[in-house]
């Protein structure tokens, strides 16, 4: 930064107007969600945003309540257990998938082994198969392996996504020079040690980005748990929140409170890893 004030020009104004518009589009639904989570069911139907009234800042604060949040964590719904389930499922999947994809992607980029070409073609081929097509065969497999109604049945198919293997392969090719691996080989590290001690730290931006991507994918997974898990106590947040609604009646206040609870851990994870996430997604965009 040179400390100069940017000169205001027509493109500058247009860009900023566009950014403001995009920000509004992103922020308003989030604000709506947070406010709705603290409204009664009646308040939800009566006021679009905050209930206006005689209170401070012209808002009728008495109409806001934490009742919905309380109901969520009560034995009636028991979102606490679902939250723990979701955190366990998403964290385990994210860590396993990131480690396995990094390992496979690194091997594909940095090592020579028999069947390497076939492996690369297999990964590329897997990328073009639409996931919904795999639901039925996966179910069949899980049934055969006796993994239905288990977390293993949900986690196992998600720990080696072809997309992740491909992503880490490209990241290795781009950010881990061959000579560094050779230097480590001469220094006395074994192949797994080279991956763990040398390559993985160099792939850190991609590790951060992929952790978030896989965590989110499992966190938001709605169809998978419904198909694989049968026991009510094993269900994750996405399913439990949906189950608060019935075919004839939707309690929107409760739904919004549940959604708010569900986005908080993800937001925290993103804040924690956001630097890596942005660096991972933009790696290669700028010559180092």
């Amino acid at each position: 930064m040179n400390g100069k004030r940017p000169s205001i020009s027509v493109p500058w104004v247009l860009v900023h107007l566009l950014l403001i518009a995009v920000s509004i589009v992103v922020i308003v639904p989030l604000l709506y969600l947070v406010i709705s989570a603290f409204k009664t069911e009646q308040g939800f139907l009566e006021h679009t945003f905050l209930p206006l009234g005689e209170g401070a800042l012209g808002i009728d604060w008495s109409q806001l309540t934490t009742k919905q949040l309380g109901r969520l964590f009560s034995s009636e719904i028991g979102i606490g257990r679902a939250l723990v389930n979701s955190i366990f499922l998403s964290a385990t999947t994210a860590m396993l998938a990131t480690f396995i994809c990094a390992l496979a992607g690194y091997a594909s980029a940095a090592l020579d082994f028999k069947g390497k070409r076939a492996f690369e073609w297999l990964v590329l081929a897997a990328l073009i198969i639409p996931p919904p097509l795999l639901i039925a065969p996966s179910y069949q497999w899980l049934h055969t392996l006796g993994l239905l109604d288990s977390y293993t049945g949900l986690i196992l198919p998600a720990v080696a996504p072809a997309f992740g293997v491909f992503l880490f392969r490209q990241a290795t090719l781009q950010s881990v020079p061959k000579s560094i691996l050779e230097a480590a080989r001469i220094d006395g590290l074994g192949e797994f040690g080279i991956f763990l001690v040398i390559a993985l730290p160099m792939l850190r931006p991609m590790v951060g980005a992929f952790l978030i991507i896989t965590f989110l994918a499992m966190w938001n997974n709605f169809i998978g748990p419904q198909i694989v898990l049968q026991s009510a106590e094993k269900q994750p947040l996405s399913v439990v929140i949906y189950q608060t609604q019935t075919a004839y009646y939707s309690d929107y206040g409760l739904l919004m409170a549940g959604t708010l609870v569900s986005i908080l851990p993800v937001a925290a994870l993103f804040l924690f890893l956001q630097r890596d996430f942005i660096a991972g997604l933009s790696s290669g965009a700028v010559k180092g």
Binding site: P177, E182, I186, D187, G188, P201
Partner: protein
């Protein structure tokens, strides 16, 4: 001190592409040998085979009387410095230097002592806590050197270590490496494409082309007695001038002519009697400005002048438009367009066969 032997070494890649062909080389203990040649000549592949980073297709490599064909790089007791430094970017300079020692299981106190010693020798004290990203190119190269020295290996392998540095720093590092070798006296194999670097550093040069060794010898030997046209053209700057023509040698008297013009007449040692097509080679430094009346003087027109301080390179054309480069004193007053006369130093002319290999004709007896 350890010797390195390469016996009939080949490197053949998929599709029968031979990158290194039947290389035989004996490197003496403590010697500083430089593999030099143009890009793709097989010098780096040869070095990588010594390091164990590249498998050997045929032949045998020994380090200190032990055949290492199937020995892993870490067990060859070597240290290598790469062109792009290959420092671990997430580790500090100190950790980079200590890394191999830590893996080898050396006690912590000994590692610290070794790191201190190395940083003293190379002046790295100030940089120990920094990461490679915060260092300049020269500093990174110094750290790479430090990492290699810390291992106290039997053999140092350098793969174009100065290529990424600017010209001034390259010369400074060259001097430093030479004095470092004099101090450590560790057997060193150094790869470069820069013939000037090779000449100044190596106690012996190995000139390579197209996967084969063209000549092995001291820098002076190779400069003065190149085995063939390739070596003659590769070593020396500006490159040697080559003129094709007819060579006639009778009773010690040598005549070389081209298109009817006598290019050279004189007495050249070690040249057998012959009458054949040949190539005369003369370095720009072996061309003199002479008077018209001087025996063997060739008339030439100056096309271009490149001043170099106290000397200048001039590009001249002789009768049939053959271009010759000569290095002459700046005070000679030569300028573009001028008609001058030049002659070749009889002691320093080279004759080669007019063939693909272009073997040297005036061999030493």
């Amino acid at each position: 001190m350890t010797a390195v032997e390469l016996n009939n070494v080949w490197k053949i890649y998929a599709g029968d592409v031979a990158a290194v062909k039947d290389v035989n080389l004996s490197i003496q203990p403590g010697e500083f040998v430089v593999l030099v040649g143009p890009s793709g000549c097989g010098k780096s592949t040869t070095l990588r085979m010594i390091a164990g980073l590249e498998s050997i297709s045929k032949g045998e490599i020994s380090i200190g009387n032990r055949v290492v064909n199937d020995v892993a790089p870490k067990d060859r007791d070597i240290a290598m410095v790469f062109q792009n430094y290959a420092l671990y970017p997430h580790m500090t300079v100190e950790k980079n230097i200590a890394f191999s020692l830590k893996i080898s299981g050396m006690p912590k106190d000994d590692i610290n002592k070794r790191v201190q010693n190395v940083s003293e020798v190379l002046g790295l004290h100030e940089l120990l806590k920094r990461k490679p990203g915060a260092l300049s190119g020269g500093q990174r190269q110094r750290v790479a050197l430090g990492r290699a020295i810390a291992r106290d290996p039997k053999v140092f392998l350098f793969d174009e270590p100065l290529s990424n540095l600017d010209a001034k720093l390259r010369i400074a590092m060259r001097t430093e490496m030479k004095s470092l070798h004099q101090r450590l006296a560790t057997t060193t194999v150094y790869v470069t494409h820069d013939q000037e670097e090779a000449m100044t550093l190596g106690s012996r040069l190995v000139v390579m082309n197209a996967g084969q060794i063209q000549q092995v010898g001291t820098p002076i030997d190779i400069y003065n007695y190149p085995n063939n046209r390739f070596v003659a053209g590769f070593v020396g700057s500006p490159a040697m001038n080559f003129i094709e023509g007819k060579l006639r040698v009778k009773a010690g008297e040598t005549h070389f002519s081209r298109n009817g013009l006598d290019i050279f007449t004189g007495s050249v040692s070690y040249l057998p009697d012959t009458e054949s097509d040949a190539v005369i080679g003369v370095r720009p430094q072996s061309i003199m400005l002479v008077q018209k009346e001087t025996p063997g003087a060739i008339a030439a027109t100056v096309d271009q002048v490149e001043p170099l301080g106290d000397q200048m390179d001039i590009k001249v054309r002789i009768h049939d438009d053959t271009v010759i480069i000569a290095r002459v004193p700046l005070q000679s007053g030569v300028d573009t367009g001028l008609q001058i006369h030049i002659a070749f130093d009889a002691e320093k002319v080279h004759f080669f066969e007019n063939s693909k290999v272009g073997a040297r004709l005036n061999r030493r007896s």
